[in-house]
C-alpha cells in the first residue's frame, strides 16, 4: 500500500507525467483489488464445496455420471455391438475404472476438492443428479438459465419498485419532516421485522382464499393462454401477490432508513447555505442532497441487483414461483450438489465483480474518492 501512496503523491507533484502515473496507479490498484477479490471468491466457493460435499455426495454424483456416460457411449457404439454382454460389461467396468482414475476419484477427497474448485471457477458447472430443466436437460447451466427469467422478473420488478419508490418517497418525507406521513412511516417501520413470505401468507389468504381475485401461486394458469399478450397479462396477474409481499416486507424500513439518511445530509451547512441563497428546492435536492449521497445510493442499488440472483428462496417456495430461489431449495432437498454449488459460484462471481466495479464507480461519482489513493483504502 505504501508504494501506491507514494506513486499517487509523486503523480500529483510531477504534473507532466500525470496521465502516465494515474493510469499506472489505477492499473496497480485494480490489479491488487482484483487479486484480493479473486482470492476471496475462491475461498468462498471452496468453503461452499466443502459444505455441499457432506457425506460424499459430490463423489456419488461424479461416479454416477461416469457410469452413465460410459455405459451409454459403449452401448451406443456400433463397433461394440458384436461383443457378448459379459465382454461388454467388462469393457464398461474397465472404462469406468480408468475414467475414475483420470478424474482422480481414487484419490482422497482433499485432492479432489481442488478439481471441483477448478471446474467451478471455470464455470464448468457439470450435470445435475436428479434435477431436470423443463426441456429435459441435465446441464446445470441450462437448469439455472431456464429458471433465471422468472427470478429476474419477480426480484427485478419488486426490487426496482421498492428501491425507487422508497428513495423518492424518503426524499419527499425528508422535506416534510415531522408531518403526519413522516410519523406514520416511522411508526410502521417495525413491520419490516417480518420476511416477505410472512406477508405472502396474508396476501394469499385475503386475495386468493377469501376474495378469489388473484391466483394462489405459480407463474401462469394451466393451461396457459395461447396469445402472447394474454400470456403476459396472466404472468402479471400471478406476479402481483409475490411482488407485493416482497415490497411490503421491507418498504417502510427502507423509506425510514433513506429518510434518516437524507435528513442527516440536508442538515449540512452547505445545504443550509443553498437554502439561504434561495435556490429552488428541486435544485437543492438534486445538486446538494442527492449528489453527495450518490455513492451510498449506488452501493445499495448494486447490492440489490446482486441480491436478485439468489432470489427469494422462501417467498418463491410459498408462491410456487419457478425461480432460482425455489430451484436452490429443491436442489438441496434432492441432494443435487452440482446445482447448489453452481448457483453459489455464480452468486460469488457476481458479487466479486460488483464490489470491484463499485470502487471505480465511487471514484467517478465522488471526486473526493481517489482510486488507489488514501480514501479508497479506508
Amino acid at each position: 500500500m505504501a508504494t501506491e501512496t507514494i506513486t499517487a503523491t509523486s503523480g500529483q507533484v510531477k504534473k507532466e507525467s500525470f496521465a502516465n502515473t494515474t493510469i499506472g496507479r489505477v492499473m496497480r490498484y485494480a490489479f491488487v483489488r482484483l487479486l484480493t477479490l479473486a482470492v476471496t471468491v475462491v475461498i468462498g466457493i471452496y468453503l461452499t464445496i466443502l459444505i455441499a460435499n457432506m457425506g460424499g455426495y459430490v463423489d456419488t454424483i461424479m461416479r454416477n455420471e461416469i457410469r452413465d456416460n460410459t455405459t451409454q457411449s459403449i452401448l451406443a457404439n456400433p463397433a461394440y455391438r458384436a461383443l457378448s454382454s459379459e465382454a461388454r460389461e467388462k469393457l464398461i467396468q474397465d472404462k469406468i475404472a480408468s475414467e475414475e482414475r483420470r478424474l482422480g476419484l481414487d484419490k482422497p477427497f482433499i485432492n479432489r476438492s481442488f478439481t471441483y474448485l477448478v471446474n467451478g471457477l471455470t464455470l464448468n458447472l457439470g450435470r445435475a443428479i436428479n434435477m431436470n430443466s423443463d426441456s429435459g436437460s441435465r446441464q446445470v447451466r441450462l437448469i439455472l438459465l431456464e429458471r433465471l427469467p422468472a427470478t429476474l422478473l419477480l426480484a427485478g420488478i419488486s426490487d426496482l419498485i421498492l428501491f425507487f419508490g422508497s428513495v423518492f418517497l424518503a426524499l419527499g418525507l425528508s422535506r416534510k419532516y415531522g408531518s403526519f406521513f413522516d410519523k406514520l412511516t416511522v411508526a410502521l417501520s417495525p413491520t419490516s421485522a417480518a420476511p416477505p413470505w410472512f406477508y405472502g401468507i396474508f396476501l394469499i389468504l385475503i386475495f386468493a382464499g377469501v376474495l378469489h381475485v388473484l391466483p394462489f401461486g405459480g407463474l401462469v394458469d394451466s393451461p396457459p393462454p395461447t396469445t402472447s399478450f394474454g400470456y403476459a397479462m396472466n404472468v402479471l396477474k400471478h406476479l402481483i401477490l409475490p411482488a407485493s409481499s416482497i415490497i411490503i416486507s421491507s418498504f417502510f424500513l427502507s423509506v425510514y432508513n433513506w429518510r434518516t439518511f437524507f435528513l442527516i445530509y440536508s442538515s449540512e451547512d452547505y445545504v443550509e447555505m443553498a437554502r439561504a441563497k434561495g435556490l429552488p428546492s428541486r435544485d437543492i435536492e438534486r445538486r446538494y442532497i442527492l449528489r453527495p449521497t450518490l455513492p451510498t445510493i449506488i452501493t445499495n442499488f448494486a447490492l440489490l441487483i446482486i441480491g436478485m440472483w439468489t432470489g427469494f428462496t422462501i417467498t418463491e417456495t410459498v408462491f410456487q414461483w419457478p425461480g432460482l430461489g425455489r430451484t436452490l431449495f429443491q436442489a438441496i432437498g434432492l441432494y443435487d450438489t452440482p446445482v447448489i454449488v453452481g448457483s453459489t459460484i455464480i452468486y460469488a462471481y457476481l458479487l466479486g465483480i460488483t464490489v470491484f466495479l463499485l470502487d471505480f464507480v465511487y471514484a467517478l461519482v465522488d471526486p473526493r474518492v481517489k482510486v488507489g489513493g488514501d480514501n479508497a483504502q479506508q
Partner: protein
C-alpha cells in the same frame, strides 16, 4: 445502575417502547406457563403422538371461539370418561354375581349442525363372561332411541354413525343427523337442548366391570383448533413461544457479543489479526447464508442447537463488525486508554473492561432489533421443512398447514394463529429496539 434507571425512565416516554416491553413480558409469561404446565418430555411425546394420543379430537377443527363470528353455530367437540369421573357411573349389585352398571352423560347441544362423529369406547373387565350393554339416546323432548345392544369385549370401539343395525332402525344412512332432529319427522333442523346418553351394562362375574368413554367429534375444538393429526394446536402455540424466544435471544446475544469481542480484538491488536478478520468478513459476504443453513439442515442435522450454532457462526462476520471496528478505532486513541496503557494494564483488561463496555449503548439496540430476524429465520427454516424434528414450533404449524393446503381449503385459523404470535414477537422486539436506538444514539433523537 444510575444510568440504567435513567434509561428506563426515558424508555417509558416512548409509547413504542412501552408496547414492545408489554408484548415481550406477555410472551415471557406465556413461555413460563408452557414450560411449567407441559414439561419438555410430555410436550415432545404429545407432539409426536399419533391416533393413540389424540383420538379424542376431530381433524381440521377450527377453534371454538369461531362460533362468535358465525351465524351458523358449529358443534364443539368434547370427550368424557368414567375413568376421570366426568361420566356418572352407578353400580347396583344383583343376585347370582350379577351387577347392573349404569353410565350416563347429559350435555347441552346448542349448535346448528350435527357432529362429525359420536364414538363410544367401552372397556370390559371380566374372566370369561362378557358384560352386556344397552345403549340408549334420550332427546331433549324425552324420546328414547335405542342405539345398540351388544356384549362388551376388552377395549372395543363403537362408532355410532357406522352401525348398520341402527341405520335400519332409524331408516336412514345419516344417523348423526337423525339423532339430533325431531324423531320420526321429516324435519332436518337440529333440536337444541339437553341430550342424554345412557349405557346400562349387566355383568355376570364377581369382579366384572366396564369403563366407558364418550367422544363427540364436532367441527370445532378448544381454544386453538386441531391439525391433520388431530393434535391440539394449543400445544405448539404455547411451546413455540419459549423456543422462538430462546432461539431469537440466544442468536442475537451470541452474534452481537461475539461480533463485538472480535471487532475489539482486531482493532486493538491491528496488524495481521485485523487483516484476517477483514478478509474473513469479505469471504463470508460471498457465502450464501440461507443456502448454507438449508444445506446444514438437510445434510447434517436439524437439531435447533446445531442450526443456532451455524446461524451465529455465519452472522458474526458481517457488516456490523466493520462499523464496530470503526468505533473501536476511535476509542483506541482516547486519553483514558492511553492512561491505562501508561500504567501497564494488560491487553485483555483493556479490551474487556475498557473498550467493550463503552460500546454497550450501541450493542443493546442492535441486539434487541435483531431478535425478530432470528425468530423469523427459525420459522422460515421450519416452513421449508427444516425445523427441529422433535420440537413443536410455530414454523412447524405453518409448514403443516401449507402442506395440507390450509389456505386453499379455508382452514385459516391454522395459519393465522402461529402467524399472529410471530408477528407479535417480531413487532414487540422491533418496537423496543427502535426506541432503544433513539435513546442510546442521541444523534437520531431529533430526527
Amino acid at each position: 445502575m444510575n444510568t440504567l434507571s435513567k434509561s428506563m425512565r426515558e424508555l417509558v416516554r416512548y409509547p413504542s417502547a412501552v408496547i414492545g416491553l408489554v408484548t415481550i413480558l406477555f410472551l415471557l409469561a406465556v413461555s413460563a406457563y408452557a414450560l411449567i404446565t407441559i414439561p419438555y418430555d410430555e410436550a415432545t411425546r404429545l407432539w409426536r403422538g399419533g391416533e393413540d394420543v389424540w383420538y379424542q379430537n376431530p381433524k381440521y377443527a377450527a377453534p371454538a371461539w369461531s362460533n362468535y363470528f358465525s351465524d351458523v353455530k358449529q358443534p364443539v367437540s368434547f370427550a368424557v370418561s368414567t375413568k376421570d369421573g366426568s361420566m356418572n357411573k352407578t353400580v347396583e349389585v344383583g343376585a347370582q354375581d350379577t351387577a347392573t352398571i349404569t353410565v350416563t352423560h347429559s350435555f347441552d347441544y346448542v349448535y346448528d349442525e350435527p357432529p362429525q362423529e359420536l364414538i363410544l369406547y367401552l372397556d370390559g373387565t371380566f374372566q370369561e363372561k362378557l358384560p352386556f350393554v344397552s345403549v340408549a339416546w334420550i332427546t331433549p323432548s324425552g324420546e328414547r332411541i335405542r342405539v345398540g345392544d351388544f356384549a362388551v369385549d376388552r377395549e372395543m370401539t363403537f362408532r355410532v354413525s357406522q352401525d348398520q343395525k341402527l341405520m335400519k332402525r332409524l331408516k336412514t344412512e345419516d344417523i348423526l343427523t337423525a339423532l339430533f332432529v325431531e324423531p320420526k319427522s321429516e324435519s332436518t333442523e337440529i333440536v337444541k337442548g339437553t341430550y342424554q346418553l345412557e349405557i346400562v351394562a349387566v355383568t355376570f362375574e364377581p369382579n366384572s366391570d366396564i369403563d366407558a368413554e364418550f367422544v363427540l367429534h364436532g367441527t370445532l375444538y378448544g381454544l386453538a383448533g386441531t391439525d391433520h393429526y388431530r393434535r391440539d394446536l394449543m400445544l405448539p402455540l404455547l411451546w413455540g413461544t419459549p423456543i422462538a424466544l430462546t432461539f431469537g435471544l440466544l442468536a442475537a446475544l451470541g452474534t452481537s457479543l461475539l461480533t463485538m469481542i472480535i471487532a475489539a480484538i482486531g482493532s486493538w491488536y491491528g496488524g495481521w489479526i485485523d487483516e484476517l478478520i477483514q478478509r474473513i468478513t469479505e469471504i463470508n459476504l460471498v457465502l450464501p447464508f440461507l443456502a448454507i443453513l438449508i444445506m446444514v439442515g438437510t445434510f447434517y442435522s436439524r437439531s435447533i442447537w446445531v442450526i443456532l450454532g451455524v446461524t451465529i457462526l455465519l452472522s458474526i462476520f458481517t457488516g456490523a463488525i466493520k462499523s464496530y471496528r470503526a468505533v473501536f478505532m476511535q476509542s483506541k486513541v482516547s486519553p483514558y486508554i492511553e492512561a491505562a496503557r501508561a500504567y501497564g494494564t494488560t491487553d485483555r483488561r483493556i479490551i474487556f473492561t475498557y473498550l467493550i463496555p463503552r460500546m454497550i449503548p450501541l450493542l443493546i439496540p442492535a441486539l434487541v432489533s435483531s431478535v425478530p430476524s432470528y425468530v423469523f429465520l427459525e420459522a422460515s427454516l421450519a416452513v421449508l421443512g427444516l425445523g427441529d424434528p422433535v420440537l413443536p414450533t410455530w414454523g412447524k404449524i405453518i409448514e403443516n398447514a401449507f402442506a395440507e393446503g390450509a389456505l386453499y381449503r379455508g382452514l385459516y385459523y391454522w395459519v393465522l394463529e402461529p402467524a399472529a404470535l410471530l408477528m407479535l414477537t417480531g413487532l414487540g422486539f422491533a418496537m423496543l429496539g427502535f426506541a432503544l436506538d433513539r435513546i442510546f444514539n442521541p444523534r437520531l433523537r431529533d430526527i
